[in-house]
């Protein structure tokens, strides 16, 4: 029996291979999807895990706000559970090619580390100090190649050589870093605030001042665990918590270590400054004294000279007096001489008279004569005496004149002395002034230094305690989203195959029913021969199970090889992980197979059981053809009358074969649903960025300020912004992440509270509107406006109250005025007045939302760089770059859509092919009859295809409904807590799904057209039914 059973099954399969292959195909599709999508999530995790384990990616990274010193490192090492630790460095830097500056994250490379080892892609790892390795796309971006050089700049005012020993590095190769498994590169402290590329340089380049920037840690006992598993996360988290505890202890110690040294330095500086100041004073005082002394000397010299001059003048006066006397004596002398001359003349005249009168006078004469001669003698004597006098006078005169000349000399030299002295005096005055100025300057400088020191002391006094950031792998850019994505694929992989299994069951049911009906006589014969029902059914069970097992095995094999490979390849645009492992997952395989078996086995049993219930004699009689029946529509004459003859026939036929109707409708609806889901998912995800950043948020740049930023910092940045030619408008606001919950507590979500300074111009920055009705709301004192996803998560509606808590602050309750459309993150908008009212203080603004002309990335980057240089500015972000990231994701969605189209096509193909074939086989007599009646080929085809077309339309309609639910399911599954995807599907997607469904149906009809032509009328009509 066994042999003959299998022989029988084998022949049956060969004869009805189309049906057999149909079941096989649909089961293999179902199993392929189930195992393939299920395995993809697995494989991505396995591949990721293996890669990260191999590269020894740290489990925990500790970053200190002031770096980590040796004591910190020791403290971390001492934490239980820390298997190994490696302190390292990283820094932000910039490099520039052809005027384009990009932000680099520079990591230390040390082959000894044994952690975070970059995977070489091309070329060699760094060896010499001046070597570096970069990521492949850095080379592509700048069109560089291995061997070219990278020159780093600090991106700030300081010289990068304060931090690195070399400025220029030669690219020795390209690598993949396990720190970056996605395209995300994280934040940067410079430039526009985002990292563009990473690179590794030998660790020795980092100038160590006893402080590392970070420490990499491997946790004990987790290397064997799958790193995306909860077990791994729990273990790592436990150790991370311990490290955080250690960090809190170290915070105080480190603060003291740091401030102690700083305070000591400060005091030393202050002392040195004071000494300096004293020394300056002393030196300037000394100089001043010297100058004063010099001035004294000069003054006394001057006095002396002045005294001598007076003397000289007095002597001169005396001399002049004497000279005047001499001169007047000389004049008197000259007068006396003149008198003598006149007396002598008179005497001579008297003598001559006497002589002339001699005769006359005799004695008298002599007497007279002697008197006259005596007179003459006296005059001569007198003259002599006068000349003596004169001589003496002249001598005096000469002497006096000489004395005067000497005096003049003395006067000249005295005058010379005063000139010199005056010069000297002037010089000293100048020097004194200079000295004063110099002293003032030196003192001012010292005062400035003092001020700086005071500021430094204040800063030091105000210094935040150093803090550790203990980051697990999810802190790495892209790591968390990778894990999320794998989960999502797995989740979706649970749903889609259900459609295929359902259809497999249906296909199997119709195939088996037909087969059992065809073999009715045989079953009757076997039964009459005494075979038990079980044995008879076995053949059909085997017939159903065989394609299921073969299809399931093949489907699993293909699915697990194909899907992970394809999907991971597609994701590799987003994720930088090596090519995937696609091992067979036997568990999944078995699950898929069991589902397939359940579907087809059940269908086969159901199909047989009906026949077996009949007794052998009735089985041996041909089954009466299914009687025609009037259907409901015929009793509505109004409708029935409208149909022409052929339409009536079609309606009757459709309703006659209800099983087939349902199966086709379900199969086709599955096809349409898959298509609609594919397109819908794309619409939902692609659409939200356009809506979010086009219709809801209108600002395209935001400038954020550090907590420490003061009002004038914001004003200054705002002025710079407004001065930019790119600037259109701006809005100052406070942005703060707070804990949001229902008014009575319960679940807590992080929401960003936005408090605009003014509620006037808000419509230029935000549109508060309902997602469905687009009704707009105004932000006012009536309450806050919250975003939709938050309202869903918290289950609060307008009119309810909600609780907010800012950090450790008080819980405040606010009324919710409206719920607005938003897709990313959670926001709570409130007016400044509301804030003031509930928090009891005015908001401290820390953000400028602005609308700028962001056409040119070059210009916006430059603006960002300028702003980031400003004090207090902590970040500048552009919406455009966020949208850019999204377009990558969307290109991946296209791939998902293609996979869905392909599988929808396969589904439609199998269902319609199977159905049309069964339809034709079952109705071959009917078809032969109309052929005999002389229906043309096209009419015969139309006879069948009209029904197919109607079923396809019905199926497509049902598919749209099913697709909408499936789409919603996928969207809700794929969504994360902080995201909301669009719920709408575009009209074009509905149309496209239906059009493609019709196209698939048409293709199947074309494929079966030949079969209709080949119907052998003679054969078909020869025998009884």
């Amino acid at each position: 029996m066994r042999r003959s059973l299998f022989k029988d099954v084998y022949r049956e399969i060969i004869n009805t291979r189309g049906r057999f292959l149909g079941i096989l195909a649909i089961v293999s599709l179902g199993v392929a999807f189930y195992t393939g999508l299920g395995a993809t999530g697995f494989d991505m995790k396995i591949t990721g895990d293996r890669y990260l384990t191999e590269r020894r990616l740290m489990d925990i990274r500790v970053v200190g706000t002031y770096g980590l010193n040796d004591n910190d490192i020791k403290a971390i090492r001492a934490v239980p559970g820390v298997e190994s630790l490696y302190p390292s460095y990283s820094m932000d830097a910039q490099t520039e090619y052809n005027g384009q500056t990009v932000n680099m994250k520079v990591h230390a490379y040390d082959p000894e580390t044994g952690m975070n080892q970059p995977l070489p892609v091309n070329g060699a790892l760094p060896y010499a100090a001046g070597d570096c390795v970069v990521e492949e796309r850095f080379l592509r971006y700048f069109n560089l190649s291995v061997g070219d050089r990278v020159t780093l700049q600090s991106g700030k005012d300081s010289d990068i050589r304060n931090q690195l020993r070399n400025r220029t590095y030669e690219i020795t190769g390209t690598v993949k870093s396990p720190l970056y498994i996605s395209e995300e590169r994280g934040a940067s402290s410079i430039g526009r605030g985002e990292t563009d590329f990473y690179m590794y340089i030998p660790q020795a380049n980092f100038i160590n001042s006893g402080v590392y920037t970070e420490a990499y840690i491997l946790v004990e006992g987790v290397s064997g665990l799958m790193c995306f598993s909860d077990e791994y996360k729990d273990k790592v988290e436990a150790v991370a918590d311990l490290i955080e505890d250690a960090g809190e202890i170290r915070a105080g110690e480190r603060a003291r270590e740091m401030t102690a040294a700083a305070y000591a330095n400060l005091r030393a500086s202050e002392t040195a400054l004071e000494e300096n100041r004293a020394e300056t004073r002393r030196l300037t005082d000394e100089n001043a004294a010297a100058l004063a002394e010099a001035t004294g000397t000069i003054t006394s010299s001057y006095t002396d000279i002045t005294g001598s001059l007076t003397d000289i003048f007095m002597q001169e006066y005396a001399l002049d007096q004497q000279l005047a006397q001499v001169t007047s004596s000389l004049v008197a002398l000259r007068d006396a001489e003149a008198l003598l001359d006149a007396q002598e003349q008179d005497l001579y005249a008297a003598r001559r008279e006497v002589m002339d009168n001699e005769p006359y006078l005799g004695a008298e004469f002599s007497v007279q004569m002697s008197d006259i001669d005596d007179g003459l003698a006296e005059i001569s004597d007198g003259r002599f005496a006068l000349s003596q006098n004169k001589k003496t006078l002249y001598e005096s005169f000469n002497r006096l004149t000489e004395g005067k000349e000497q005096l003049y000399d003395a006067l000249g030299s005295a005058y010379g002395g005063t000139g010199t002295l005056a010069g000297a005096g002037y010089g000293i005055t100048e020097q004194t002034a200079e000295l004063a100025a110099e002293r003032a300057r030196l003192l001012a400088r010292l005062d400035a230094a003092t001020e700086d020191l005071e500021k430094a002391r204040e800063d030091l006094d105000d210094l935040d305690d150093p803090e550790w950031y203990v980051l697990d792998r999810e802190g790495n850019p892209g790591y968390a989203s990778y894990a999320d994505d794998t989960d999502k694929i797995t989740a979706i992989g649970r749903v889609f195959p259900l459609i295929f299994f359902l259809v497999a069951a249906l296909v199997c049911l119709t195939s088996m029913t037909r087969l059992v009906e065809e073999r009715r006589t045989e079953i009757g014969t076997l039964k009459s021969l005494g075979y038990s029902g079980g044995w008879i059914v076995l053949k059909y069970i085997v017939y159903a199970v065989l394609p299921t097992v073969i299809g399931g095995a093949a489907g699993g094999y293909i699915g697990m090889n194909l899907f992970p490979q394809l999907i991971i390849d597609a994701y590799s645009m987003l994720y930088s992980i090596p090519s995937p492992d696609t091992p067979m997952h036997n568990g999944l395989w078995a699950q898929g197979l069991l589902m397939g078996l359940a579907a087809t086995g059940l269908a086969a049993t159901v199909a047989c059981v009906n026949e077996l219930r009949e007794n052998p004699s009735s089985l041996l009689r041909p089954k009466a053809p299914k009687a025609g029946k009037r259907n409901l529509i015929e009793f509505i004459p109004f409708v029935w009358m409208l149909l022409n003859f052929i339409q009536k026939v079609t309606v009757r036929n459709l309703l006659r074969y209800k099983k087939r109707l349902f199966m086709t409708v379900i199969g086709i609806s599955g096809c349409t649903a898959l298509l609609l889901t594919g397109y819908g998912v794309r619409d939902s995800i692609a659409g939200i960025t356009d809506i979010q950043f086009g219709e809801v948020n209108h600002y395209n740049m935001s400038v954020t300020f550090a907590d420490s930023a003061a009002g004038q910092d914001i004003t200054r940045a705002s002025d710079i912004l407004e001065a930019s030619p790119l600037y259109r408008r701006g809005l100052t606001a406070r942005q703060k992440t707070m804990d949001a919950s229902e008014a009575d507590g319960g679940k807590v979500y992080q929401a960003t509270v936005i408090i605009p300074e003014t509620a006037d111009d808000l419509e230029h920055f935000f549109t508060f509107r309902d997602r469905e009705t687009h009704a707009e709301y105004t932000l006012n004192e009536n309450g806050v406006i919250i975003t939709e996803k938050l309202s869903r998560l918290l289950e609060i509606a307008p009119g309810d109250r909600m609780t907010l808590r800012d950090g450790d602050g008080p819980y405040v309750t606010v009324p919710v005025a409206a719920v607005m459309e938003t897709y990313f993150l959670h926001y709570v908008y409130m007016t400044a007045e509301t804030y003031q009212a509930v928090f009891g203080e005015a908001p401290e603004y820390n953000t400028i939302f602005s609308v700028v002309d962001d056409e040119s990335a070059h210009e916006t980057d430059a603006l960002a760089a300028v702003l980031l240089d400003e004090r207090g500015v902590s970040g500048v972000s552009f919406i455009k770059s966020m949208i850019g990231n999204f377009s990558d994701i969307i290109s991946n969605l296209d791939f998902v859509v293609y996979v869905l189209i392909a599988s929808a096509g396969a589904l439609a193909l199998v269902v319609l092919l199977n159905l049309t074939n069964i339809n034709i086989n079952e109705r071959v007599r009917e078809l032969a009859t109309i052929e005999v009646l002389g229906f043309y080929d096209s009419e015969v085809s139309a006879y069948i295809y009209r029904e197919n077309a109607i079923l396809t339309i019905l199926g497509a309609g049902a598919g749209l409904l099913l697709g909408m639910s499936l789409h919603l399911y996928v969207i809700i599954t794929v969504e994360t807590d902080i995201m909301m995807f669009g719920r709408e599907i575009k009209t074009a997607s509905y149309l496209l799904s239906v059009a493609l469904t019709f196209l698939f149906a048409l293709a199947v009809n074309l494929m079966t057209a030949n079969k209709l032509k080949k119907i052998n009328m003679v054969e078909a009509l020869k025998s009884a039914e």
Binding site: P625, A627, G628, F645, V649, N653, E926, V932, F935, D937
Partner: protein, 233 residues
């Protein structure tokens, strides 16, 4: 030239490894308006010749003319048109559309040809005026065969071809069907060809063609055909 003539018609079927000569040079003719019976044992080629004559099958060689047209040279499409407009078929197992009422089965045929007869009138002619709206499953075998004949007649064909029309019917019912066919031939001047393995009914025909081994073994014309009622078998 006779209305229907077959000249040296041959047809070989390939059954696996064996070639079966179904027709091996069959030759006969039938005049217009005759009631012809083709008789012979099973496997003699009766059905094959009828199928070929009705345009349901083609011959390998030979010539078939109907009303002056060479049917043997028809293309596939011409054959369909031939079946559509010129031929009415009646089968042993009726081959009614189960899903259509009796009248609708007739309409199915009348819908597609050039000069159809009124289906209701034809139904009345075959004696089914009362059963027009019944489905085949609700009719007896004889009634179903009458519907089948009505369907063939409604097309107003040149030829009515019947393949063992009474094969599945009891004696009385079969007789009724044969009478209907004979009356149709007489009253409507319809050319009727009936295949039977029952030689006993031969006397009712105008022309009797006997088949044996794919050939016509005898063709005779009956000058005095008997009405069916008078034949017993």
């Amino acid at each position: 030239m006779p209305y229907i003539s077959l000249t040296d018609v041959r047809k070989t079927y390939r059954m696996g490894e064996v070639d079966v000569k179904a027709l091996d040079g069959a030759e006969f003719f039938i005049e217009k308006g005759e009631f012809a019976i083709i008789a012979g044992p099973s496997g003699a080629g009766k059905s094959t010749v009828l199928n070929i004559l009705g345009g349901m099958d083609t011959c390998d060689s030979g010539e078939i003319t109907v009303d002056g047209s060479a049917v043997s040279k028809y293309s596939r499409r011409q054959l369909i048109a031939y079946r559509r407009h010129d031929i009415g078929f009646v089968f042993q197992f009726y081959n009614l559309m189960q899903n259509l009422t009796a009248l609708e089965n007739v309409e199915l045929a009348s819908q597609i040809c050039k000069n159809p007869l009124n289906p209701r009138a034809v139904m009345a002619d075959v004696g089914l005026a009362e059963r027009m709206n019944n489905f085949p499953a609700q009719l007896s075998g004889g009634e179903q065969q009458r519907v089948s004949i009505a369907r063939a007649l409604a097309k107003n064909p040149k030829l009515l071809l019947c393949d063992e029309p009474t094969g599945a019917l009891d004696y009385v019912t079969g007789k009724g069907i044969l009478k209907l066919l004979q009356d149709t031939c007489r009253e409507k001047k319809m050319t009727v060809v009936v295949i039977t393995h029952n030689a006993a009914i031969a006397p009712m025909a105008d022309r009797i063609i006997r088949f044996r081994n794919g050939r016509v073994s005898e063709m005779s014309v009956n000058a005095e055909p008997l009405p069916v009622e008078r034949i017993e078998w």
